[in-house]
Subunit: 379 residues, 4 copies
């Protein structure tokens, strides 16, 4: 099977998530990075491209140029990874989608709702796929949890408790030279949500992915604990679901002792599931009235949905990069089928632009609620 | 040192918490159970008393009779443990306090705010102490956490995340013969709070105990998931503190896979602490920017406040009963000093009627908030 | 039910395990401490007795005096707890057994094999019971494990991996004033085993208790890491069982970061069990080819043998003192039956003098093996 | 930087470790698989090569043919991965080394000591590097542990406790069609060690890597629990080190409930370290007399040696494949330097043929010891 030619927008020297996307694209050998508009600074773009061993002719200063030229090449890129800050997602995504080049885009979808809607419209009409890298949905045990909920093993869902807790913004890292902190606390580049947009959207997406439902209303209390920080660094959200379920979402970047504490607990009339991103190969399942069981990736209790995205035996931990790679590999499966005029293969799952829109709406609703003293807002 | 003569109201055959109080009173040898009005059913009272080896002359059918008579005895009880359902706290407590007999009372304080205020008034004027058994404050690592917060090791507090999660009411246990479930889901006996009163007050008290502060406002979403249950079995609460801190409290009795998941996480500008009741001998401390540290009961990092309530070396787990016993032993220390006309000895801590009132106000405020669509209510 | 009158030999001021025995004896209310020969120093004996509220007439300077006098009293002690260093077990035990007073004795049985045999002979002929406080067998999840092995849930046993790891003797604590360290590293008081006798015998007993079998041969490598220490502070032992099972036992007091790391893992043809004393309310069970299951004290998977020694619901941790108390309470049940001329009640389990002899033989065999370059020695 | 052209011997359809090597080679983009002798069955070799997208001209039926031809190609492979069963390591390794093609070889080194010595001789004279994939040494926290021991943070080492425990051979999987089980239990293909060779050598290597020393003597008790199995499925080994340290190694494939339980605990005069492969991003460090500390990959306590092989921030777990990839990437760094006539770059670490020889000697000594009733054998 030939690898899919991939381009990248953003991800030049000093960036973080671009490198992650590149590893993820490589792990299963489904993609080959052949072109890039890696930085808006031409020199940096060229240096970054050279470092990655790109053909100089396919190192671009500008994503528009890349889109135009690659679309015309015989062996041009079939997909592009967009790994810029949030306010730079919609622009390139639209350029590539319009030219029938598949887009694999980092989250959240965009910086503003207006951009999101514009992009969604283009995506709906495009002859190409749009894949959003809500990478945590790539973990085998998250797939397992989703399948178990869908199969009714928890009964009707009552409670959805999700949190994503970090500590790296406990102090004003944005004031002491951290580029990652700078743009993530800048409304112009991040949009209306701080912790909310950066990690809250991941938590929201994960909960929806597993629960198979989204809240119909929420009440959010947003806080900027670090003086002078214009965006929230902590979000407390209560949620209500149409079917009667309730939940809370907590996103924080100021809780010392937490690295990437994304954790989901979901309970129904018949049982409960618990999963934590920092220990991702394990899923705890308690059928009510029975002993708790440890389902492991690769173990006896892992079903089809987990096994099909599992690479190595249980007890040999797969991690964040493998889960991220699964998003890429699912994208590759979908792209190959799409390009061959076939339907999406059975079992293939990836986050879509609809997920992205829902994440944007989640941020918007939280901000609205917070402005109204954390009163309830419909989603 | 002679053991303090103790009486008990409630706790007859079939009861749960009475037996816990009796063990707790025995562990450090500070109390001797010598009298009881163990049940309002005379036969059961007598059978229960006989089983406990009480002198038949000091087995009472009625707590008033016990109060009257014991107050007159030369070797009458100096303290009484009240372990009845919530609606039966105020009555006996008042009888004993009026007679100068110290009261050790189970939580929550009472079933109604009116009773609570009446009791508080009597307690304020009584020549006896009132101790409320918020037993989780007896854990050495909880004492340690409180001392660390008070000493400023976390800096100014920003976040208080507390939860108490169980699963035993996932189904309608109250309909299938569980006496414990029956009264806990009955407003006439429990008061306005279900999970809220039973375990939410514990969580609230624990958070306040460690944080050294209480919220000034809250918003609560209460749910009764089990059909026909008149009281909440799940409570989601957002909290705001005067100093700018925020928090959430989650109490649930319908989350399968949770036994007694009382867990506190508290974060400040300089560090974070994490503690869980099911693993009570360990306290996690992260000074921001440093490695996480495991403080153990009896270990190198345990300070004075933890050590003075520690019985055995680290690695030999102390549990729930020892923490409960610590409340009794602190009560004994306070009682001995009080009776000798001395001030409370240094270091002695126990939950008071003020804690009880604050717990009642917490329940009341949650119920108010819930009725107003979980809007904010001042405390 | 009237409490059993209990005496104590040893356990005066400054001692450690005496206090543990006293709490253990109190927890379930089955015993009442009424007499003591708490120290061989008369003044200390008296001060210690007074502190415990003993009747001055029943505070003895000498255990022989206590045995003689209490045997004659109408309400004399029916049982005595012996909590002296190892070399002071046999003497008092024999005195009391001869007079028909039940003995509850700390482990290891004695300091020397000769004493052990002498004591065993007396015990065999005595009109009283001998109970050895291998207290870890009192943990409900240890009882559960034993019952599961006995019921064949693991199939034929193949592997027994047990360890008891501490760090408190990493440095020469015996040289800096620790009384606990002094006698435990002194062959005259401890016998031939250091870590081996102090904690290795516990590990050995625990493994045998759960496995339902003892090794027939062992090879032991003993080490004294701390310069000048005459007894082992680390023991590595390989074991072979008659039925073909193999095992290892590791006892160490010089492994920094370990408090009381007593841990048992046992595997058979059909499944495995794992238990750790520092997290004693949980037992991991894996039926081969299925998910791992968490059996909790008080939880759904806990059977009769665990439940009958369980005091409080799951999720409320019981600890070391409760397990120790269970030994006392089982002793009380056995004593009451014995004194009434009845057989031991169903389900009652306590460690006997045979367990003590086996522990002594274990130490002896390890020392023999170590002297012969860790070659195999038959048990 | 151009990727290094890589060939592969073994790893065709149905194989396990070949796929792992391919992912590992891809993760950091340092290698490009361009040629293969993937199976000794020509048809399978071709099908496997096609599946991997190899140029048909570079799919070989025979590794000798591949060595000969690739050595002559202008863009021929510069390195080859050997991923065949143990008895097929030496043959191909020698062919490629002789032609100056670097060899990356799976462990254990060979099936027999004779082969190992022959290979070592060739390697010593070759103009190419030999890298052995003891992949666990690629984990950042293992690097961290090694660096801490080397820096003296534990003081003089006293105890080395290592184990690698699995359960997949609890039953006779080799008799029911598992190819993985078949060759691993076949002396002709595996050599003299079963569990010993397959996972015991990993445990041995890991312990030596971190401790910075190897035992000078050992005593091993080997067992084949599954009837009819010609090789050990369980190994208990006691070890003695020249400097006075002691240790045990336990390797088992018949312990139900264990997936890949590789765990190292190492203790010195000043502190202890604990690490487990199933939770590889965490390293526990206890300086004696202080609180235990959790050093995390990417966290505050991770030093240079860990950081240089870390890809993503703490809390985003890296796993088995990343650790394996690190071996490849270290190999790439060494290969690039070697080919440029430069010394190995600072910090670069990879397992060598000497490590392989030591592993072989370990197996040999264990087998010798086991034959002599587990008596001590010098290494």
């Amino acid at each position: 099977m030939t690898a899919i030619n991939l381009g990248m927008v953003g991800g030049g020297q000093g960036a973080f998530i671009g490198g992650v996307h590149r590893i993820a694209a490589r792990i299963d050998g489904e993609f080959r990075l052949v072109a890039g508009a890696l930085s808006s600074t031409p020199e940096k773009a060229r240096a970054s491209g050279a470092e990655l061993g790109l053909d100089p002719a396919r190192i671009y200063d500008d994503y528009r140029q890349m889109a135009t030229r690659e679309a015309r090449l015989k062996d041009g890129i079939r997909a592009v990874a967009i790994v810029t800050p949030n306010h730079m997602h919609a622009g390139p995504a639209i350029e590539f989608l319009k030219r029938g080049i598949h887009v694999i885009c980092d989250k959240p979808l965009t910086a503003t709702m207006a951009e999101a809607r514009k992009l969604a419209k283009v995506a709906a009409e495009a002859k190409a796929l749009f894949i959003l890298t809500h990478n945590y949905t790539g973990y085998p045990m998250v797939r397992q949890a989703r399948a178990m909920v869908a199969a009714g093993e928890l009964g009707k869902i009552r409670l959805v408790q999700v949190e994503y807790v970090q500590d790296w913004l406990t102090e004003a890292a944005e004031a002491s030279g951290s580029k990652q902190a700078e743009w993530r606390t800048d409304p112009a580049r991040s949009g209306a949500g701080g912790a909310l947009g950066d990690i809250g959207t991941h938590a929201y997406n994960l909960a929806a992915f597993v629960a198979g439902q989204e809240p119909e209303a929420l009440a959010a209390d947003l806080t900027s604990f670090v003086p002078g920080r214009p965006l929230d660094d902590n979000a407390h959200v209560m949620m209500r679901y149409a079917g009667g379920a309730k939940g809370t979402l907590w996103a924080s970047q100021v809780a010392p002792g937490n690295e990437n504490g994304l954790r989901l607990r979901i309970y129904g009339e018949k049982g409960g599931l618990e999963w934590s991103q920092e220990d991702p190969n394990r899923l705890w399942f308690t059928p009510f009235g029975q002993d708790k069981r440890l389902i492991t990736r690769g173990g006896a209790g892992a079903g089809f949905d987990a096994q099909r995205v599992t690479r190595i035996p249980g007890g040999h931990p797969e991690g964040y990069l493998e889960a991220f790679a699964t998003i890429y590999t699912e994208a590759a499966r979908a792209i190959r089928a799409f390009d061959a005029g076939q339907p999406k293969p059975e079992g293939v799952i990836y986050p879509t632009i609809e997920d992205g829109l829902r994440g944007m709406r989640f941020v918007e609703a939280c901000v609205q609620s917070a402005k109204r003293n954390a009163s309830w807002v419909l989603l």
